[in-house]
Assembly symmetry: C2
Homo-oligomer: 154 residues x 2
DNA sequence: GCTGAAACAAGTAGTGT
DNA sequence: ACACTACTTGTTTCAGC
């Protein structure tokens, strides 16, 4: 598998990333190639796993989530890691979970309705998980930007 | 603006979130409502800003980004914040940037080709920004999960 | 606020170069 | 690897309930 894409691939990815519902026929027209070529390329990009899915980006605040916080989680012992991740997965407010280097074993992203809801998720749910030693929270005041990686690496 | 959606709205959001290119006519069929109702609802959800966009989720590793790190940024003085954010925005490897509570002023997400590229972004770019006092990096070894918030809050 | 129908546009699959 | 054609399916709009 090579990780370089030709001009057509790049343009398809760029155009679909700005609007995943854009008609393939319109992309074809813009790139001055046939309709079916776009279908073939998208199919290939999907089959090779470059395109994972076409997702809908919703406004979390309009859904009622007014608080967002990054949470660093320490473990009592490293061997608890797998089980802790499985428990975190069951907490719907935890949307992201990574093993990381540094002073935390796990780094998670948590969305909550308000500060009280966040407190509840942290202390009634995360702290109750067997093996969790402690947490540090970084509450987001403002999200300045949130975007995707460039398709082509500079 | 109310933040509660009826069954149709919820189902549309759920179905489009699992596949943003799903045909509206198919959603209509599944929900046993008319084709045009789905269009009307999606239009309204988009106009009110609940739906921000239909995006394409790509596999970062297949694009060549093998390193992902959360970076906590300290500032020399709080007044540098706005300017630092604008400089970070120019660094394409920085995909997310938030003002946060706690020991860091800014919390960012950085994607890089490899560890050497990450080092370069951190020390040749972020540390060179005027006002940045220091950084702590949490390098992701594994992303266990990364998902969206539930449409309906439990 | 929702449906239905009709005109139009896009997606799909097969064929050929 | 790409284009062309014919066919199927989805989208859009608007009159009417």
């Amino acid at each position: 598998m090579k990780n370089q894409f030709d001009y057509i691939d790049q343009q398809i990815l760029l155009k679909l990333r700005s609007d995943a519902r854009k008609a393939y026929s319109q992309i074809a027209e813009e790139l001055k190639v046939s309709n079916s070529l776009i279908h073939q390329r998208v199919k290939k990009l999907t089959e090779t796993g470059v395109i994972k899915k076409a997702d809908l980006i919703l406004d979390e605040k309009k859904l009622g989530y007014n608080t967002k916080a990054y949470v660093g989680i320490r473990l009592k012992e490293a061997r608890f890691a797998t089980k802790v991740v499985e428990k975190l997965r069951e907490i719907k407010e935890v949307t992201e979970c990574n093993y990381v280097s540094g002073k935390y074993a796990i780094f998670a992203l948590v969305y909550a309705k308000d500060n009280d809801h966040l407190r509840s998720v942290l202390y009634d749910q995360i702290h109750e998980v067997d093996g969790v030693g402690g947490t540090d929270s970084f509450i987001c005041f403002t999200t300045n930007f949130d975007r995707s990686v460039p398709v082509v690496i500079s």
